[in-house]
Symmetry: none
Subunit: 242 residues, 2 copies
Amino acid sequence: MSIDGQLPPKARLLRAAAELLANSGGSPISTRQITQQAGVTAPTLYHHFGDKEGLFDAVVAAGFDEYVAGERDFAPSGQPLEDIRRMWDNHVQFGLKQPELYLVMFGNIRPESRPAIVADAEALMEEMLNKAAVSGQLNVPPKEAARSILAANVGMTLMLIAEKAPERNLELSAMTRDAMIFAVSTEQARDTGSVDSGKSSVVVAAIALNAALQASHSDQLSSSELKLFLEWLHRISNSSTS
Amino acid sequence: MSIDGQLPPKARLLRAAAELLANSGGSPISTRQITQQAGVTAPTLYHHFGDKEGLFDAVVAAGFDEYVAGERDFAPSGQPLEDIRRMWDNHVQFGLKQPELYLVMFGNIRPESRPAIVADAEALMEEMLNKAAVSGQLNVPPKEAARSILAANVGMTLMLIAEKAPERNLELSAMTRDAMIFAVSTEQARDTGSVDSGKSSVVVAAIALNAALQASHSDQLSSSELKLFLEWLHRISNSSTS
DNA sequence: CAGTTCATATAGCGTTGCTATAGGTGCTAG
DNA sequence: CTAGCACCTATAGCAACGCTATATGAACTG
């Protein structure tokens, strides 16, 4: 059951902690579980890592390296804002792929004490935003832009993690992402695969329809018919928002 | 030292838990602390609240009432999107005023399990966004808009709480807020030429119709009108594929 | 080979959330 | 008035938690 490879105890502790965390499903894991899985006794853990938090910090640091690796892979596209977009998506993917680790990294908020990892992630994003600022694409100082974008990015990722897997809607993430990037950028020509092009005649009819509906506060509609109608409307509104 | 008023033990437990939580500075508080401060022994707590989480849920419920009260105070301004703006700010203020309580409410994220409180807050915001949708101001279904805005709102608040008080920059919150609201709204004073025709597409109309219908409680349209509307919608959706 | 340092183990401390059991309290029925 | 009953609270203690004082072994250094 335990990890009995030739690895030194320190590495075995790290690995055991990471594995147990990944399979914990969110429930807290104890030092006894970790030391047992690593085939080691308690004092060894505290000798190497000081305390439980120290061990988890080490796990987080390793996880962050992976996180950074993912960010760097996408980095050199020449268009800084496009890179920011990819950083956002990579951030979300990282959180969804390893939710427990992500929650340890970004979910342990305490008043007036920022996890070091958040500052690192912010610096990473700020670095990228700096390139955008140099080429005059930023509307806001890079530091503040990074803060805002990362805050929204974390919030979005936390929300997605909290949702059950089949209900997760990544389009919400994309929309929020573009909204944040647009807000800090100077380029006012938006191109996020927009749907609205050449529909001015449709607009008139839609508005008229809307007005007619709101004006009709008197008649009746059977619930089954209403259901059908709602379903139809829902399908339309959803099929076009993608 | 303990709370020895004439209040029943249940209320004293609630009060003790809330007070200890508010003054804990983020460090976890024990059931023994709570029961001692309430002048009560352990089984009393478990008789009334089941377990520690049950007690905290009750504290959270009380806190949420206060939260909702703050939201409702600002509600009726006539301009739904302006109300959303105020809801955002109230959310942030609530989090900064009672960070420990806020963290219990919105910070205890676990994979695939949404705190009930988040769903409530989302419903509150969706309700307001529904008004915006009815008047054709929404670009996105209210439910998804509420999800996105609330996710960013929580992310921003968590980030502000984690920062040390003097360093908190509320302008970042305002910028993010406006970016999110702008992203889901139709009032787009940007992009290409045609400004005052409004950019509302068939999507906007469908969303508005959907919201209006849901608000109408199913007895305001005759079946003949329904047929007519369906026909109109059909014509619109066909012409939009040009 | 003696001394020092690093690394691990034995055993146990204090605290945690929680509970099996029992006793007291206030109500209503006879 | 009292018997019974449901409700509430206390005594005492369990298992699991994070952590450590102390001791023992191994490995390098002089």
